[in-house]
């Protein structure tokens, strides 16, 4: 840039009214040109003085790494803050929720199937060994209960006297 052009822009420079690119070009010229710098010193001595050391050190390489790491940690922390004892599942994605529901249905289905299968098996054994459906002692699950236990007392209550004597 020519000195005349620079000098026309000195007032805008000291008033902070130049664009970033224009300001950089002007500073570059002022650092090289003693005449323009003298005019600047008349207009604003502080602006002329700071031109002696206008550059700042480069941004440290570690700054971005550090800020982004802290930002990620903050995001995790804030996720913990919004955890709710009842609505916690809303934090999960749709895929995660669907998978969880599917797994629960599979476990429930398998449990129901196995329960039905065992009950049918035990019942058929009971029916074969004794004609009375009231013979609860015939169920393998209740057969080994110890005497004087709570289960034993319950069975004594619900089983007819005759069957108790037979036992």
């Amino acid at each position: 840039m020519h000195c005349n052009e620079i000098r026309k822009q000195l007032l805008a420079y000291v008033q902070g009214e130049l664009t970033s690119n224009r300001r950089t070009m002007l500073r570059h010229h002022l650092q090289q040109c003693m005449g323009c710098r003298a005019l600047l010193a008349e207009l604003d001595p502080i602006a002329a003085a700071v031109l002696k050391s206008i550059e700042t050190p480069r941004v440290p390489e570690s700054l971005k790494r550090s800020v982004m790491l802290q930002a990620r940690m903050k995001q995790w922390d804030s996720a913990e803050v919004i955890w709710h004892p009842i609505l916690w599942w809303q934090m999960a994605t749709v895929t995660m929720r669907s998978t969880a529901v599917l797994m629960m249905m599979m476990v429930l289905g398998l449990g129901t199937f196995m329960g039905m299968s065992t009950a049918t098996h035990d019942l058929s054994d009971t029916m074969n060994s004794s004609p009375s459906i009231n013979n609860l002692y015939a169920f393998s699950v209740l057969g080994d209960i110890p005497d004087a236990s709570l289960a034993s007392s319950y069975l004594n209550l619900v089983t007819p006297q005759v069957q108790r004597n037979q036992r």
């Binding site: 001595p45 700071v50 700042t56 800020v67 903050k74 995001q75």
Partner: protein, 183 residues
């Protein structure tokens, strides 16, 4: 081109949705400016790094509350300047005796030594100012902001900024006189 096509305000709205890539874009756009202000204000590279980190993390925290009524640039500098002032209230006095070298390209070794002395001289002079005056001087003389822009950052009037600058100039002029006399 595609990255620059997205405005700062749009990026900030994405940050509010938890988008860290948008936050990274904003960081890359403003890191140099933030670093420059913080470094000139504190005169210490490590403290400037803390200040810049803290300011960006404040922006991340406030993203959900951000409303694009003013430009993001003004909003960003407002947070940064507030952090600078809070920082000096909490921290020990600035030690300007051991400034890191300003490694500008194109300097010979002897020029770099002279440049470092000037840097130290200017930083010592800035240290004599109150924190607000120092910040106004940094924003005007190093970052090239106008009174109106600085007033928006400080949520003050341009006249008030001009008064602060006038006082700062009066204080700085004798301290920087020797630099001017070198010419």
């Amino acid at each position: 081109m595609p990255e620059e096509a997205v405005s700062d305000e749009e990026l900030m709205q994405a940050v509010a949705q938890g988008n860290l890539d948008a936050f990274e874009q904003l960081f890359l756009r403003y890191q140099s400016a933030a670093w420059s202000v913080a470094y000139r204000f504190t005169g210490d590279a490590a403290e400037a790094e803390d200040l810049v980190s803290d300011s960006f993390l404040r922006i991340l925290d406030a993203a959900e509350r951000y409303k694009p009524t003013a430009s993001f640039r003004t909003y960003f500098y407002r947070i940064l300047t507030r952090r600078c002032i809070d920082f000096t209230r909490k921290k020990r006095p600035i030690a300007t005796d051991n400034l890191p070298p300003v490694l500008a390209s194109g300097y010979s070794q002897s020029e770099a030594v002279v440049h470092q002395e000037h840097n130290q001289h200017i930083q010592n002079a800035l240290e004599q100012l109150s924190e607000k005056h120092r910040l106004v001087v940094v924003l005007r003389y190093f970052e090239g902001f106008s009174n109106i822009a600085i007033a928006e950052m400080f949520q003050s009037s341009p006249k008030s900024i001009e008064r602060m600058l006038a006082r700062a100039r009066k204080h700085l002029k004798p301290l920087l006189q020797s630099l001017l006399e070198e010419d």
